[in-house]
Protein backbone atom coordinates (compact mmCIF):
# COMPACT_ATOMS: atom_id res chain seq x y z
CA UNK A 1 0.00 0.00 0.00
CA UNK A 2 1.35 3.34 -1.06
CA UNK A 3 -0.36 5.50 1.49
CA UNK A 4 -0.01 3.36 4.60
CA UNK A 5 3.19 2.31 6.33
CA UNK A 6 2.09 -1.04 7.72
CA UNK A 7 5.27 -1.37 9.79
CA UNK A 8 4.56 1.94 11.46
CA UNK A 9 0.96 0.94 12.06
CA UNK A 10 1.99 -2.40 13.56
CA UNK A 11 4.46 -0.61 15.81
CA UNK A 12 1.63 1.39 17.28
CA UNK A 13 -0.60 -1.67 17.55
CA UNK A 14 2.08 -3.66 19.32
CA UNK A 15 2.40 -5.94 16.26
CA UNK A 16 -1.24 -6.86 16.52
CA UNK A 17 -2.20 -7.26 12.86
CA UNK A 18 -5.81 -8.06 13.61
CA UNK A 19 -6.13 -4.89 15.59
CA UNK A 20 -4.50 -2.78 12.90
CA UNK A 21 -6.69 -4.26 10.19
CA UNK A 22 -9.80 -3.69 12.26
CA UNK A 23 -8.87 -0.09 12.97
CA UNK A 24 -7.97 0.64 9.34
CA UNK A 25 -11.33 -0.73 8.24
CA UNK A 26 -13.00 1.46 10.79
CA UNK A 27 -11.00 4.42 9.55
CA UNK A 28 -12.02 3.74 5.95
CA UNK A 29 -15.70 3.49 6.88
CA UNK A 30 -15.55 6.70 8.84
CA UNK A 31 -13.78 8.75 6.18
CA UNK A 32 -15.30 7.19 3.02
CA UNK A 33 -17.29 9.96 1.36
CA UNK A 34 -16.47 12.02 4.38
CA UNK A 35 -17.96 15.45 3.98
CA UNK A 36 -15.27 17.58 5.57
CA UNK A 37 -16.01 21.16 6.49
CA UNK A 38 -15.23 23.50 3.68
CA UNK A 39 -12.53 26.09 3.79
CA UNK A 40 -13.87 28.60 1.26
CA UNK A 41 -13.49 31.93 2.98
CA UNK A 42 -10.91 30.93 5.58
CA UNK A 43 -12.96 32.72 8.22
CA UNK A 44 -12.06 32.22 11.86
CA UNK A 45 -14.98 29.86 12.28
CA UNK A 46 -14.01 27.82 9.25
CA UNK A 47 -10.39 27.69 10.30
CA UNK A 48 -11.30 26.53 13.79
CA UNK A 49 -13.48 23.72 12.46
CA UNK A 50 -10.78 22.72 10.00
CA UNK A 51 -8.17 22.80 12.73
CA UNK A 52 -10.18 20.43 14.94
CA UNK A 53 -10.81 18.04 12.08
CA UNK A 54 -7.20 18.07 10.85
CA UNK A 55 -5.81 17.75 14.34
CA UNK A 56 -7.83 14.57 14.95
CA UNK A 57 -6.98 13.24 11.54
CA UNK A 58 -3.29 13.91 12.13
CA UNK A 59 -3.28 11.85 15.31
CA UNK A 60 -5.28 8.89 14.12
CA UNK A 61 -3.56 8.67 10.73
CA UNK A 62 -0.14 8.73 12.38
CA UNK A 63 -1.17 5.93 14.73
CA UNK A 64 -2.43 3.77 11.88
CA UNK A 65 0.63 4.29 9.69
CA UNK A 66 -0.86 6.80 7.22
CA UNK A 67 2.25 8.87 7.71
CA UNK A 68 2.00 10.96 4.58
CA UNK A 69 -1.51 12.01 5.45
CA UNK A 70 -0.35 12.86 8.95
CA UNK A 71 2.47 14.99 7.50
CA UNK A 72 -0.03 16.89 5.31
CA UNK A 73 -2.08 17.54 8.42
CA UNK A 74 0.98 18.75 10.32
CA UNK A 75 1.90 21.23 7.57
CA UNK A 76 -1.62 22.58 7.50
CA UNK A 77 -1.75 23.05 11.27
CA UNK A 78 1.60 24.83 11.21
CA UNK A 79 0.29 27.24 8.57
CA UNK A 80 -2.86 28.16 10.49
CA UNK A 81 -2.72 31.65 12.02
CA UNK A 82 -5.10 34.12 13.52
CA UNK A 83 -4.77 36.59 10.70
CA UNK A 84 -4.47 35.00 7.31
CA UNK A 85 -3.53 37.06 4.27
CA UNK A 86 -5.20 36.43 0.90
CA UNK A 87 -2.01 34.83 -0.35
CA UNK A 88 -1.88 32.54 2.70
CA UNK A 89 -5.55 31.71 2.33
CA UNK A 90 -4.84 30.27 -1.07
CA UNK A 91 -2.02 28.22 0.39
CA UNK A 92 -4.23 26.92 3.19
CA UNK A 93 -7.01 25.98 0.80
CA UNK A 94 -4.49 24.12 -1.32
CA UNK A 95 -3.12 22.24 1.68
CA UNK A 96 -6.62 21.40 2.84
CA UNK A 97 -7.47 19.98 -0.56
CA UNK A 98 -4.27 17.92 -0.48
CA UNK A 99 -5.29 16.51 2.86
CA UNK A 100 -8.66 15.49 1.47
CA UNK A 101 -7.05 13.98 -1.61
CA UNK A 102 -4.54 12.03 0.49
CA UNK A 103 -7.34 10.91 2.79
CA UNK A 104 -9.30 9.62 -0.20
CA UNK A 105 -6.26 7.65 -1.35
CA UNK A 106 -5.79 6.17 2.09
CA UNK A 107 -9.42 5.08 2.18
CA UNK A 108 -9.09 3.49 -1.26
CA UNK A 109 -5.93 1.68 -0.18
CA UNK A 110 -7.65 0.32 2.90
CA UNK A 111 -10.70 -0.77 0.95
CA UNK A 112 -8.41 -2.69 -1.39
CA UNK A 113 -6.72 -4.54 1.44
Amino acid sequence: MNTIDIKAGLLTCNNNEVLLRKLLKKFAIKYDDFDADTLDTCSKEECLKAETFVHNLKGVSANLGALNLSRHCELFLQSLKNDVSEEEKAGLKKMYQEIQQELALVVIDIEQM
Binding site: T12, C13, N14, N16, L19, K22, K26, K30, G59
Partner: protein, 381 residues
Protein backbone atom coordinates in the same frame (compact mmCIF):
# COMPACT_ATOMS: atom_id res chain seq x y z
CA UNK B 1 -12.84 -2.64 37.53
CA UNK B 2 -10.35 -1.49 40.11
CA UNK B 3 -11.77 1.11 42.34
CA UNK B 4 -10.30 3.38 44.87
CA UNK B 5 -12.21 5.98 46.70
CA UNK B 6 -10.53 9.02 48.14
CA UNK B 7 -7.25 8.59 49.97
CA UNK B 8 -4.05 6.64 49.50
CA UNK B 9 -5.21 3.71 51.67
CA UNK B 10 -7.97 2.69 49.28
CA UNK B 11 -5.78 3.49 46.32
CA UNK B 12 -3.11 1.14 47.62
CA UNK B 13 -5.66 -1.54 48.27
CA UNK B 14 -6.82 -1.48 44.66
CA UNK B 15 -3.33 -1.64 43.23
CA UNK B 16 -2.46 -4.65 45.32
CA UNK B 17 -5.58 -6.68 45.18
CA UNK B 18 -7.31 -6.29 41.81
CA UNK B 19 -6.71 -5.79 38.11
CA UNK B 20 -5.49 -2.30 37.31
CA UNK B 21 -8.14 -0.06 35.78
CA UNK B 22 -7.24 2.48 33.11
CA UNK B 23 -9.63 5.22 32.03
CA UNK B 24 -9.04 6.56 28.50
CA UNK B 25 -10.66 9.73 27.16
CA UNK B 26 -10.34 10.69 23.50
CA UNK B 27 -12.89 12.22 21.16
CA UNK B 28 -11.65 9.96 18.35
CA UNK B 29 -13.30 6.54 18.61
CA UNK B 30 -10.53 4.85 16.60
CA UNK B 31 -7.90 6.04 19.06
CA UNK B 32 -9.97 4.66 21.93
CA UNK B 33 -10.29 1.27 20.20
CA UNK B 34 -6.57 1.31 19.50
CA UNK B 35 -5.69 1.91 23.14
CA UNK B 36 -8.23 -0.64 24.33
CA UNK B 37 -6.76 -3.11 21.83
CA UNK B 38 -3.22 -2.59 23.13
CA UNK B 39 -3.94 -2.38 26.84
CA UNK B 40 -7.08 -4.49 27.14
CA UNK B 41 -5.32 -7.84 27.56
CA UNK B 42 -3.36 -6.66 30.59
CA UNK B 43 -5.56 -4.01 32.12
CA UNK B 44 -9.19 -3.23 32.58
CA UNK B 45 -9.74 -0.37 30.14
CA UNK B 46 -12.75 1.93 30.19
CA UNK B 47 -13.12 4.37 27.29
CA UNK B 48 -14.80 7.77 27.17
CA UNK B 49 -15.48 9.90 24.09
CA UNK B 50 -16.48 12.74 26.38
CA UNK B 51 -13.90 13.77 29.03
CA UNK B 52 -16.60 15.18 31.32
CA UNK B 53 -18.14 11.71 31.51
CA UNK B 54 -14.68 10.38 32.29
CA UNK B 55 -14.36 12.75 35.27
CA UNK B 56 -17.83 11.85 36.50
CA UNK B 57 -17.09 8.14 36.25
CA UNK B 58 -13.77 8.66 38.03
CA UNK B 59 -15.52 10.40 40.90
CA UNK B 60 -17.84 7.41 41.24
CA UNK B 61 -15.27 4.65 40.80
CA UNK B 62 -11.74 5.99 40.42
CA UNK B 63 -9.30 4.36 38.04
CA UNK B 64 -5.68 3.53 38.81
CA UNK B 65 -4.32 5.30 35.71
CA UNK B 66 -5.90 7.81 33.34
CA UNK B 67 -4.93 8.43 29.70
CA UNK B 68 -6.18 11.65 28.11
CA UNK B 69 -6.17 13.21 24.68
CA UNK B 70 -5.36 16.91 24.95
CA UNK B 71 -7.69 18.44 22.38
CA UNK B 72 -11.29 17.46 22.93
CA UNK B 73 -14.33 19.58 22.09
CA UNK B 74 -16.25 19.23 25.38
CA UNK B 75 -13.33 19.90 27.66
CA UNK B 76 -9.58 19.92 27.17
CA UNK B 77 -7.44 17.09 28.47
CA UNK B 78 -5.57 19.57 30.64
CA UNK B 79 -8.74 20.68 32.44
CA UNK B 80 -9.85 17.06 32.73
CA UNK B 81 -6.52 16.24 34.33
CA UNK B 82 -6.88 19.09 36.81
CA UNK B 83 -10.33 17.88 37.84
CA UNK B 84 -9.13 14.30 38.29
CA UNK B 85 -6.08 15.37 40.28
CA UNK B 86 -8.25 17.60 42.46
CA UNK B 87 -10.27 14.51 43.31
CA UNK B 88 -7.41 12.01 43.63
CA UNK B 89 -3.95 13.50 43.60
CA UNK B 90 -2.18 10.13 43.62
CA UNK B 91 -3.64 8.91 40.33
CA UNK B 92 -1.15 9.13 37.43
CA UNK B 93 -2.62 10.96 34.42
CA UNK B 94 -0.90 10.61 31.04
CA UNK B 95 -1.53 12.73 27.99
CA UNK B 96 -1.58 11.07 24.58
CA UNK B 97 -1.60 13.72 21.93
CA UNK B 98 -0.32 14.67 18.52
CA UNK B 99 0.39 18.07 20.08
CA UNK B 100 3.77 17.28 21.51
CA UNK B 101 5.66 20.56 21.35
CA UNK B 102 7.59 21.78 24.39
CA UNK B 103 4.88 24.23 25.44
CA UNK B 104 2.27 21.44 25.17
CA UNK B 105 4.34 19.21 27.43
CA UNK B 106 4.86 22.04 29.92
CA UNK B 107 1.12 22.73 29.97
CA UNK B 108 0.54 19.04 30.64
CA UNK B 109 3.00 19.07 33.52
CA UNK B 110 1.43 22.22 34.89
CA UNK B 111 -1.98 20.54 34.88
CA UNK B 112 -0.58 17.74 37.05
CA UNK B 113 0.17 15.23 34.33
CA UNK B 114 2.46 12.28 34.97
CA UNK B 115 3.75 11.85 31.41
CA UNK B 116 3.20 12.97 27.85
CA UNK B 117 3.00 10.48 25.00
CA UNK B 118 3.17 11.76 21.44
CA UNK B 119 1.13 10.28 18.59
CA UNK B 120 2.06 8.10 16.85
CA UNK B 121 3.17 6.09 19.81
CA UNK B 122 4.89 2.74 20.01
CA UNK B 123 2.44 0.18 21.44
CA UNK B 124 5.17 -1.84 23.04
CA UNK B 125 6.63 1.24 24.71
CA UNK B 126 3.18 2.23 25.90
CA UNK B 127 2.75 -1.17 27.56
CA UNK B 128 6.21 -0.88 29.12
CA UNK B 129 5.35 2.58 30.40
CA UNK B 130 2.14 1.29 31.95
CA UNK B 131 4.00 -1.61 33.56
CA UNK B 132 6.52 0.85 34.99
CA UNK B 133 3.73 3.00 36.44
CA UNK B 134 2.03 -0.02 37.99
CA UNK B 135 5.32 -1.12 39.53
CA UNK B 136 5.82 2.36 40.87
CA UNK B 137 2.30 2.38 42.31
CA UNK B 138 2.97 -0.95 43.99
CA UNK B 139 6.27 0.29 45.38
CA UNK B 140 4.57 3.44 46.65
CA UNK B 141 1.90 1.26 48.18
CA UNK B 142 4.52 -0.86 49.93
CA UNK B 143 6.33 2.23 51.19
CA UNK B 144 3.08 3.72 52.41
CA UNK B 145 2.20 0.42 54.08
CA UNK B 146 5.61 0.24 55.69
CA UNK B 147 5.29 3.84 56.78
CA UNK B 148 1.88 3.08 58.19
CA UNK B 149 3.35 0.11 60.05
CA UNK B 150 6.15 2.22 61.50
CA UNK B 151 3.68 4.93 62.51
CA UNK B 152 1.44 2.31 64.10
CA UNK B 153 4.39 0.81 65.99
CA UNK B 154 5.47 4.26 67.14
CA UNK B 155 1.94 5.09 68.25
CA UNK B 156 1.75 1.73 70.05
CA UNK B 157 4.99 2.52 71.86
CA UNK B 158 3.76 5.98 72.85
CA UNK B 159 0.40 4.58 73.92
CA UNK B 160 2.12 1.76 75.78
CA UNK B 161 4.23 4.27 77.68
CA UNK B 162 1.11 6.22 78.55
CA UNK B 163 -0.55 3.04 79.80
CA UNK B 164 2.47 2.10 81.85
CA UNK B 165 2.30 5.59 83.32
CA UNK B 166 -1.24 4.85 84.47
CA UNK B 167 -0.12 1.58 86.07
CA UNK B 168 2.72 3.39 87.83
CA UNK B 169 0.29 6.03 89.03
CA UNK B 170 -1.94 3.24 90.33
CA UNK B 171 1.06 1.74 92.13
CA UNK B 172 1.73 5.12 93.72
CA UNK B 173 -1.86 5.53 94.88
CA UNK B 174 -2.71 2.01 95.90
CA UNK B 175 -0.40 1.72 98.89
CA UNK B 176 -1.72 4.87 100.52
CA UNK B 177 -5.21 3.41 100.93
CA UNK B 178 -6.17 2.04 104.33
CA UNK B 179 -9.31 0.06 103.64
CA UNK B 180 -10.85 -2.22 101.03
CA UNK B 181 -13.39 0.29 99.73
CA UNK B 182 -10.77 2.97 99.06
CA UNK B 183 -8.72 0.32 97.28
CA UNK B 184 -11.73 -0.59 95.14
CA UNK B 185 -12.31 3.06 94.27
CA UNK B 186 -8.65 3.49 93.30
CA UNK B 187 -8.91 0.45 90.98
CA UNK B 188 -12.06 1.87 89.38
CA UNK B 189 -10.34 5.26 88.82
CA UNK B 190 -7.48 3.55 87.00
CA UNK B 191 -9.88 1.41 84.94
CA UNK B 192 -11.80 4.58 84.01
CA UNK B 193 -8.59 5.97 82.57
CA UNK B 194 -8.21 2.79 80.52
CA UNK B 195 -11.84 3.32 79.47
CA UNK B 196 -12.99 -0.05 80.72
CA UNK B 197 -16.03 -0.83 82.83
CA UNK B 198 -15.35 -3.19 85.71
CA UNK B 199 -16.78 -4.74 88.81
CA UNK B 200 -14.67 -6.37 91.50
CA UNK B 201 -14.54 -8.44 94.60
CA UNK B 202 -11.95 -7.68 97.28
CA UNK B 203 -11.63 -10.45 99.80
CA UNK B 204 -9.29 -10.08 102.77
CA UNK B 205 -9.10 -11.21 106.39
CA UNK B 206 -11.47 -8.50 107.51
CA UNK B 207 -14.40 -8.86 105.10
CA UNK B 208 -15.47 -8.83 101.41
CA UNK B 209 -16.15 -5.73 99.33
CA UNK B 210 -18.02 -5.75 95.99
CA UNK B 211 -17.61 -2.59 93.96
CA UNK B 212 -18.02 -1.53 90.33
CA UNK B 213 -17.48 1.37 87.92
CA UNK B 214 -21.07 2.39 88.70
CA UNK B 215 -20.69 2.08 92.48
CA UNK B 216 -22.29 -0.77 94.38
CA UNK B 217 -22.36 -4.08 92.48
CA UNK B 218 -25.75 -5.49 91.61
CA UNK B 219 -26.55 -8.79 93.32
CA UNK B 220 -26.16 -10.54 89.96
CA UNK B 221 -22.71 -9.05 89.45
CA UNK B 222 -21.65 -9.97 92.96
CA UNK B 223 -22.89 -13.48 92.32
CA UNK B 224 -20.90 -13.76 89.07
CA UNK B 225 -17.76 -12.43 90.75
CA UNK B 226 -18.06 -14.99 93.53
CA UNK B 227 -18.87 -17.83 91.14
CA UNK B 228 -15.82 -17.17 88.99
CA UNK B 229 -13.53 -16.30 91.89
CA UNK B 230 -11.97 -19.74 92.03
CA UNK B 231 -11.84 -20.51 88.30
CA UNK B 232 -8.87 -19.67 86.10
CA UNK B 233 -6.60 -16.69 86.54
CA UNK B 234 -8.21 -15.20 83.43
CA UNK B 235 -11.70 -16.46 82.69
CA UNK B 236 -13.46 -15.37 79.50
CA UNK B 237 -17.18 -15.57 78.92
CA UNK B 238 -19.25 -13.79 76.26
CA UNK B 239 -16.54 -11.25 75.57
CA UNK B 240 -16.12 -10.47 79.27
CA UNK B 241 -13.03 -11.28 81.24
CA UNK B 242 -12.66 -12.03 84.91
CA UNK B 243 -9.15 -11.70 86.31
CA UNK B 244 -8.54 -13.56 89.57
CA UNK B 245 -5.69 -12.74 91.94
CA UNK B 246 -5.20 -13.91 95.52
CA UNK B 247 -7.33 -11.27 97.22
CA UNK B 248 -8.94 -9.48 94.28
CA UNK B 249 -11.14 -10.50 91.35
CA UNK B 250 -11.85 -8.03 88.57
CA UNK B 251 -14.57 -8.48 85.96
CA UNK B 252 -13.95 -6.43 82.78
CA UNK B 253 -17.18 -5.86 80.91
CA UNK B 254 -15.91 -4.10 77.78
CA UNK B 255 -12.52 -5.45 76.84
CA UNK B 256 -11.26 -3.64 73.69
CA UNK B 257 -11.70 -5.61 70.45
CA UNK B 258 -8.30 -4.59 69.11
CA UNK B 259 -6.11 -7.59 69.94
CA UNK B 260 -2.95 -5.50 70.47
CA UNK B 261 -4.68 -3.11 72.89
CA UNK B 262 -6.47 -5.97 74.66
CA UNK B 263 -3.18 -7.84 75.06
CA UNK B 264 -1.45 -4.86 76.65
CA UNK B 265 -4.46 -4.23 78.85
CA UNK B 266 -4.46 -7.84 80.10
CA UNK B 267 -0.83 -7.41 81.19
CA UNK B 268 -1.57 -4.09 82.89
CA UNK B 269 -4.59 -5.53 84.71
CA UNK B 270 -2.70 -8.58 85.97
CA UNK B 271 0.16 -6.41 87.24
CA UNK B 272 -2.24 -3.94 88.87
CA UNK B 273 -4.24 -6.73 90.50
CA UNK B 274 -1.07 -8.27 91.94
CA UNK B 275 -0.32 -4.91 93.52
CA UNK B 276 -3.91 -4.58 94.71
CA UNK B 277 -3.72 -8.06 96.24
CA UNK B 278 -0.55 -7.12 98.11
CA UNK B 279 -2.29 -3.99 99.23
CA UNK B 280 -5.07 -6.10 100.78
CA UNK B 281 -2.41 -8.00 102.75
CA UNK B 282 -0.94 -4.70 103.90
CA UNK B 283 -4.33 -3.42 104.97
CA UNK B 284 -4.91 -6.68 106.89
CA UNK B 285 -1.46 -6.49 108.46
CA UNK B 286 -1.95 -2.87 109.42
CA UNK B 287 -5.29 -3.80 110.92
CA UNK B 288 -3.67 -6.60 112.99
CA UNK B 289 -1.05 -4.17 114.24
CA UNK B 290 -3.69 -1.75 115.40
CA UNK B 291 -5.34 -4.53 117.40
CA UNK B 292 -2.00 -5.54 118.88
CA UNK B 293 -1.19 -1.96 119.82
CA UNK B 294 -4.54 -1.66 121.49
CA UNK B 295 -3.93 -4.83 123.47
CA UNK B 296 -0.45 -3.72 124.49
CA UNK B 297 -1.78 -0.39 125.63
CA UNK B 298 -4.50 -2.05 127.67
CA UNK B 299 -1.97 -4.47 129.18
CA UNK B 300 0.38 -1.62 129.92
CA UNK B 301 -2.39 0.31 131.66
CA UNK B 302 -3.40 -2.78 133.61
CA UNK B 303 0.22 -3.37 134.63
CA UNK B 304 0.60 0.22 135.76
CA UNK B 305 -2.58 0.00 137.70
CA UNK B 306 -1.55 -3.28 139.30
CA UNK B 307 1.92 -1.96 140.14
CA UNK B 308 0.46 1.10 141.78
CA UNK B 309 -2.01 -1.01 143.67
CA UNK B 310 0.69 -3.40 144.93
CA UNK B 311 3.07 -0.57 145.83
CA UNK B 312 0.27 1.24 147.71
CA UNK B 313 -0.78 -1.93 149.43
CA UNK B 314 2.76 -2.80 150.58
CA UNK B 315 3.42 0.76 151.74
CA UNK B 316 0.15 0.78 153.69
CA UNK B 317 0.91 -2.58 155.31
CA UNK B 318 4.42 -1.49 156.33
CA UNK B 319 3.18 1.82 157.68
CA UNK B 320 0.44 0.12 159.65
CA UNK B 321 2.89 -2.45 161.05
CA UNK B 322 5.41 0.26 162.04
CA UNK B 323 2.65 2.29 163.62
CA UNK B 324 1.38 -0.75 165.54
CA UNK B 325 4.88 -1.65 166.79
CA UNK B 326 5.43 1.95 167.96
CA UNK B 327 2.06 1.92 169.72
CA UNK B 328 2.83 -1.47 171.38
CA UNK B 329 6.25 -0.24 172.46
CA UNK B 330 4.56 2.78 174.05
CA UNK B 331 1.88 0.72 175.74
CA UNK B 332 3.82 -2.43 176.59
CA UNK B 333 4.32 -1.37 180.23
CA UNK B 334 0.60 -1.73 180.66
CA UNK B 335 0.58 -5.31 179.39
CA UNK B 336 1.70 -6.77 182.78
CA UNK B 337 4.56 -8.62 181.17
CA UNK B 338 7.91 -9.34 182.66
CA UNK B 339 10.91 -7.46 181.22
CA UNK B 340 12.02 -10.61 179.61
CA UNK B 341 8.61 -11.14 178.00
CA UNK B 342 8.49 -7.51 176.91
CA UNK B 343 11.92 -7.84 175.27
CA UNK B 344 10.85 -11.04 173.50
CA UNK B 345 7.66 -9.44 172.21
CA UNK B 346 9.49 -6.33 170.97
CA UNK B 347 12.13 -8.49 169.32
CA UNK B 348 9.45 -10.59 167.63
CA UNK B 349 7.68 -7.51 166.39
CA UNK B 350 10.90 -6.00 165.02
CA UNK B 351 11.75 -9.29 163.37
CA UNK B 352 8.31 -9.28 161.77
CA UNK B 353 8.84 -5.65 160.74
CA UNK B 354 12.20 -6.57 159.28
CA UNK B 355 10.73 -9.46 157.28
CA UNK B 356 7.87 -7.24 156.10
CA UNK B 357 10.29 -4.49 155.23
CA UNK B 358 12.43 -6.89 153.24
CA UNK B 359 9.31 -8.19 151.51
CA UNK B 360 8.30 -4.60 150.79
CA UNK B 361 11.69 -3.93 149.24
CA UNK B 362 11.34 -6.99 147.01
CA UNK B 363 7.82 -5.89 146.02
CA UNK B 364 9.19 -2.41 145.21
CA UNK B 365 11.84 -4.01 143.01
CA UNK B 366 9.18 -6.03 141.17
CA UNK B 367 7.11 -2.86 140.81
CA UNK B 368 10.14 -1.04 139.40
CA UNK B 369 10.61 -3.88 136.93
CA UNK B 370 6.93 -3.68 135.99
CA UNK B 371 7.33 0.06 135.50
CA UNK B 372 10.34 -0.47 133.25
CA UNK B 373 8.31 -3.03 131.28
CA UNK B 374 5.45 -0.54 130.84
CA UNK B 375 7.92 2.12 129.66
CA UNK B 376 9.35 -0.37 127.19
CA UNK B 377 5.87 -1.28 125.92
CA UNK B 378 5.01 2.38 125.51
CA UNK B 379 8.26 2.98 123.68
CA UNK B 380 7.39 0.11 121.33
CA UNK B 381 4.08 1.81 120.46
Amino acid sequence: MLNYSRGIENFIGCVQMEKITIFVADDEEINLELLEGILGDTYQVKCFLNPIECVNAFKLTPADIVLLDVSMPEQSGLETCRQIKAFEDKCPVLFISSKAAEQDRLAGYDAGGYDYIAKPFNGNELLAKMAKIVKELQRNAEVAEEKEGITAAFMDAITGQGEQGLVLQFAGNVFSVTNYLDLAKTIVETCDQFEIKVSMLIEGKQNCVYWSSDGECSPMESNVLSLLRNTQRIYEFNGRFQFNEENVSLLVKNMPEDEAIAGRLRDHILLSLRMASSCVDSIDAASSNILLIKQIKETSDQLLSAEKSVRDSVFTSLSMLTEQITRIEDEIQYFALSHEQEDQLIASLHAALHVTSESSDRTATVCDQLNALVVKLNDTL
